[in-house]
Symmetry: C2
Subunit: 210 residues, 2 copies
Amino acid sequence: MITSPSSVRRSERSRRATLDAALELCTEKGYGRVTVEAIAARAGVSKKTIYRWWPSKGAVMLEAFAEAFVGATPFVDTGDIAADLRTHINAAVRVVSTPPYGPAYAGILSEMHHDDDLARAVLEQLVGPRVEAAVGRLRRAQEQGQVPAGADLPLAVEMLYGPVYYRHVLRRPAQDEATVAALVSHVLRSLVTGDDAAPAGTRDDAPAQG
Amino acid sequence: MITSPSSVRRSERSRRATLDAALELCTEKGYGRVTVEAIAARAGVSKKTIYRWWPSKGAVMLEAFAEAFVGATPFVDTGDIAADLRTHINAAVRVVSTPPYGPAYAGILSEMHHDDDLARAVLEQLVGPRVEAAVGRLRRAQEQGQVPAGADLPLAVEMLYGPVYYRHVLRRPAQDEATVAALVSHVLRSLVTGDDAAPAGTRDDAPAQG
């Protein structure tokens, strides 16, 4: 079967309506009380259509959240790594502390603890690509001499994102811009390579150096 | 009514039995399927007794987890802040990546997103006191000249704990000892006070300097 341009458009409309409905219902009812039935009814699509595209409510929510998150947190390159990381982390903080995205992500994180497929999807569709993009931005900064050669870039990404997750999952007030600025400058300052750094290849998450 | 020593002993036995039963059931059934009824039956106490002491299943789990966590992660002071932080963070990583404690804490973190009382209890009974203890240990290191005066100690604590939460909630493999060592040395290295640090009092979580 050949997919005609108009059926692609129709599919994209249904997909968009489904994602929007999922987020709206998350705001209105709370993640836990949203059902695939309710999403289908709100979006004006059949339950069967939803299950043809997504395996679970969590998967719908993940696609909706990931699309919003990735769109709102580009890795810009103005040539100033500190400024660009501040821009990025401030945007990430804003998304996860704004309804419906924050509550939706909290719901996804909860659900992935007893849904192995969703856990895999979060890693493959959201976290993995974002970590790769962050490491890529830091690697360009390295090439420009703004980050020391040999710096532990995956560790830097965990030090930047860790505190954002920490406050999100503990429901603490999100970081303000001054706190994000302090976090970024601390992380960049920490990235010197000294004799206390583990030799390449001995770390559990040591990246291949490109 | 005067509480006799034997009734205190009896109460402590029931409390202990309740906490142990909660953790056992969490291992066997998964957090989500544990009920207060099942905890009571396993512990050999009445449901009424449990609700006299705890408002919810989450509160029972929190007390069980917090007791194990605090017991396993003391803030020792050998005079070497780097070694002591490694000891502490390695122990914390071990607890949150070991059943039944890891799954129990994951369940608590999920539940606190739609249980405001539990969220408050996590902060008051677990996170708040542990952050205070961590800041206290760093402050002693400051007095001993191992950490610069004026260093942002609450930020340091978030940089140490953030990555532990990050991997826990994302179900990533826990940090190994080399990664914890690298994290601790990076965080300590970041704690210089420079002109990019926000002035005291402008940060959202700026501590009163003692």
